[in-house]
């Protein structure tokens, strides 16, 4: 079923006889159960006020269209949504609704926040077909419960978005990257912690063990960027690494690759995404049984590639964080579960919330569950 307006969305949900899988641009290859509901037809930017740093759009609006509109005003989506197509070998067009429903954030997550932190308001249709609005288009809003956060990252399990309102930010004048060469995982994570624990406003901190390159991104006004790069360089001199500075163009290319996990675009093996306490990261990666990994978010995010069907969660054991199986065949996804199992209390609340918002149990049955 293809949706073109909030009204048709309401009708479709009210009339649904069985399970529905909500699909935006279809770029993430998420497991689908039941009838596919395509919402990419809910399109268009409905409001953009550059002076107020706010943009409102229908969820099917392509991310590229939003980024283009923002670029014209020298602004951007600061949380840097990832494009999954290279990693998953999918086609289609990433949509803003899909980004928000998955709370998809890139390397800048560590300095400016996640997609959920930029989502100011939503309209959605719940499982009864009721249109619900929450939040708004202002940056500070504590009027009632924050269902906006609840919807961000809910993978369409509570309702189908029909409008999203976002905070946007100015695009900085320039950017540059400091690259440290030759550090092992532990030393790299320590150096990244040092950099983020400085006043120099690092907006990206990633390490690739294969090349032994640790990258630290700085953004802002030209003079400020070069000042902070040199300060950072002296701060990290103790790490004993060879240091190199990369200019704006090289920085753009480097971080786009880090964001989209270019290291695993060759299509080999399963891919896991682990969110953890940064200082735990080297230990987690080492015991994960993975073949290769890269660190983003100063170690707080690890992308790991393992042999097909490998149970990475079991290998890691208990941790402060969670592991998501991003790329695998349907069989492995079904056996291992895409999402990390939650502690009993949280799992019970999650299930009860789903039952409240989706009493007929029709939405995205396979999402956020261990088993579809």
């Amino acid at each position: 079923m293809a949706i073109t307006s909030e009204e048709t969305l309401v009708d479709a949900i009210k009339g649904a006889a069985g399970p529905i899988s909500v699909q935006g641009g279809g770029t993430r290859g998420l497991p689908a159960t039941g009838q596919i509901m395509r919402v990419a037809g809910l399109q268009g930017i409905t409001l953009y006020e550059p002076g107020a740093l706010t943009l409102v759009a229908k969820p099917g609006t392509p991310v590229a269209e939003i980024e283009e509109a923002l670029a014209a005003e020298n602004q951007r989506l600061a949380f840097e949504p990832m494009d999954h197509r290279g990693l998953l070998g999918t086609s289609g067009t990433p949509t803003i609704g899909g980004v928000m429903a998955g709370n998809i954030s890139g390397p800048r997550r560590i300095s400016v926040g996640a997609a959920r932190d930029f989502l100011l308001g939503v309209r959605f249709v719940d499982g009864r077909g009721a249109v619900v609005k929450n939040g708004g288009r202002v940056m500070k809003n504590v009027t009632g419960y924050d269902l906006v956060k609840l919807m961000a990252g809910s993978y369409g399990t509570l309702g189908v978005l029909s409008e999203v309102s976002m905070k946007v930010l100015p695009r900085p004048e320039t950017q540059a990257t400091l690259v440290l060469h030759g550090l092992d995982d532990g030393a790299a994570v320590a150096a990244m912690a040092r950099a983020l624990g400085s006043p120099f406003e690092v907006t990206g901190a990633a390490h690739d063990p294969a090349t032994r390159e640790t990258a630290l991104r700085i953004e802002g006004f030209e003079a400020s960027v070069s000042y902070r790069l040199s300060q950072l360089q002296s701060l990290l001199a103790g790490a004993g690494a060879e240091v190199e500075q990369r200019d704006a163009a090289a920085t753009q290319a480097l971080w786009s690759g880090i964001n989209d996990v270019a290291a695993f675009h060759d299509g080999q093996g399963d891919v896991w995404r682990v969110s953890c306490k940064p200082s735990d990261a080297p230990g987690i990666a080492a015991r994960s049984g993975a073949e290769r990994w890269t660190y983003d978010w100063a170690g707080g995010l690890i992308w790991l590639r393992s042999a097909a069907g490998h149970d990475l969660r079991a290998a890691i054991g208990p941790m402060d964080g969670h592991a998501t199986l991003v790329r695998a065949d349907a069989q492995s996804k079904a056996r291992l579960g895409v999402f990390h199992p939650e502690p009993a209390g949280v799992a019970r609340l999650t299930a009860a919330l789903r039952a409240q918002f989706d009493p007929k149990g029709i939405f995205n049955a396979g999402q956020l569950d261990r088993a579809a």
């Binding site: 996640a114 202002v138 009027t143 990252g153 509570l158 000042y227 209390g345 918002f357």
Partner: protein
């Protein structure tokens, strides 16, 4: 302000409830004497008072769990309380309730600089979180103006903001994890030292839920390294509208200050008379602060000043030193006190889209004439969070009611232009009955459905946030057996 009629059946069980609470808490943690419970009769919204049946001040998460379990079994409503600085009446008791204060739970549990987090018990005050890490160069960013007194528990309940949230965000953007006790005594852990939820974002849901979903006893907070420095520029304009345009132009130019504060003429006059900060007498005053090294600050203040010059300011004063910065901030920081010198005041907290600023200020002026009450406007201009201060005389019969009516009109105006009722203070009882203005029945139903999940019997802070008529059937859930 209407409150539910206290349950006489609950009050009749007071002795038994107190006895049971004493079995799980140390002697000094249970307050049941009527002279002593009066200390908890109100929060910072002092117009409304009601002593609770009992107040408890537990020391540990286990004790909080025991208290909630007992109250759940006895069907006693519980009103959680941080430091009692809510301006919205979030901690206002009812005569049949147990006030659960977290003030004695104020320890730092863990400080972890490599991972940039601090874990604290939530009775700890906001400023003392920064106090625990500032010697090492770190700070906790959300800075509500009550930060000397307000507790992290209350900050989480109300999703508190502050002057610097344009750059650093509000509580929800700086909260990584919580230990929370549900009404039936179950203890859950949500989030931790890692970023983002693996499943539904319960942390985001809990933050700002006004103590209605659970009692948060421990919190993991993000800490940041302090900037090298910060300095403001003060700019005066002869026209509100022009000041608003200047703010918009600065934001569009790609400068992102940490704070943009706005004061209008009545507020400037009042603070000048009170604090003598040397402010120019004009229609609108902006205080814009930026951070960085000295050179970075000079560069940004230069850009801001260039933009401001294009709008013909009547005054432009760039701070060059800590002393000059303090002087620029002096008036702003004493604004509430200055207004309080003139008369009693009610502080509103609606947020508007920045673009609607001139229109909203004009309408507030018209309403002020209509109601015959003076109003001064101080607010965070970068994010549109207004703080109109309405002056009234609490001793004059009918003045409070008139002031509340005026306040309600201003808040309706905020919603009308695309904003909201409250930007950082919370709904509490103060804005509870205005929720219908912002939300349709289905919107409120969705929020109340969340409370049903966490607190099916609606015992936690039940008379807040939702209009009483909307929550009536839920609050009427039969209480536990005698």
């Amino acid at each position: 302000m209407e409150m539910p009629i206290p349950s006489q059946a609950v009050i009749a069980r007071k002795t038994r409830v107190v006895d049971r609470l004493r079995q799980v808490l140390p002697a000094d943690a249970v307050i049941s004497d009527e002279r002593e419970t009066r200390a908890y009769e109100c929060d910072a919204l002092t117009a409304y008072k009601c002593a609770p049946m009992v107040a408890v001040l537990p020391y540990t998460t286990q004790q909080v769990s025991d208290v909630l379990r007992i109250c759940h079994e006895e069907g006693v409503p519980v009103v959680p309380r941080g430091s009692g600085t809510s301006l919205a009446g979030g901690a206002l008791p009812t005569a049949d309730c147990v006030i659960l204060g977290v003030a004695r739970m104020n320890e730092v549990i863990e400080t972890d600089y490599p991972n940039r987090i601090i874990k604290v018990q939530t009775g700890r005050t906001n400023l003392s979180v920064t106090g625990a890490v500032e010697e090492d160069g770190f700070f906790y960013a959300p800075d509500p103006s009550s930060q000397l007194a307000c507790a992290i528990a209350g900050n989480i309940a109300m999703n508190s903001g502050g002057a610097h949230c344009l750059k650093y965000g509000v509580t929800t953007n700086n909260l990584m994890g919580v230990t929370m006790v549900l009404m039936d005594g179950e203890v859950i852990e949500v989030g931790g030292a890692h970023l983002d939820a693996g499943g539904l974002d319960l942390l985001g849901l809990i933050c700002g839920s006004e103590g209605q979903l659970g009692v948060v006893t421990e919190a993991t907070l993000r800490i940041l390294h302090k900037p090298e420095g910060a300095r403001p520029v003060l700019i005066g304009f002869d026209d509100n509208e022009v000041a608003g345009e200047c703010v918009s132009d600065i934001i569009k130019a790609g400068v992102l200050p940490v704070a943009i504060e706005f004061m209008d003429r009545p507020c400037i006059e009042a603070t000048e008379a009170f604090a003598k900060a040397g402010y120019p007498m004009c229609e609108a005053l902006l205080i814009i602060e930026v951070e960085g090294s000295d050179a970075e600050i000079d560069h940004q203040l230069g850009l801001i000043s260039d933009i401001a010059q294009r709008h013909s300011p009547v005054e432009l004063r760039q701070s060059k030193s800590a002393e000059e910065s303090a002087k620029i901030w002096l008036g702003r920081k004493s604004a509430f006190g200055a207004m309080g010198q003139i008369n009693d005041y009610m502080c509103l907290d609606g947020t508007i889209p920045v673009s609607s600023l001139p229109f909203v200020l004009k309408r507030i002026k018209e309403l002020s004439d209509q109601f015959g009450l003076k109003v001064g406007n101080v607010f965070h201009a970068g994010d549109g969070n207004m703080h109109p201060l309405i002056l009234f005389d609490a001793n004059k019969p009918g003045d409070l009611e008139l002031c509340e009516e005026f306040g309600a009109e201003i808040l309706k105006l905020c919603v009308e232009v695309g904003g909201c009722l409250t930007g950082e203070h919370g709904v509490g009882i103060e804005k509870r009955d205005l929720m219908h203005v912002q939300y349709a029945p289905d919107d409120l139903e969705a929020q109340m459905a969340v409370k049903d999940v966490f607190d099916p019997a609606w015992l936690l802070n039940p008379a807040k946030v939702f209009p009483l008529d909307a929550s009536e059937t839920r609050r009427a859930v039969p209480l536990a057996a005698e």
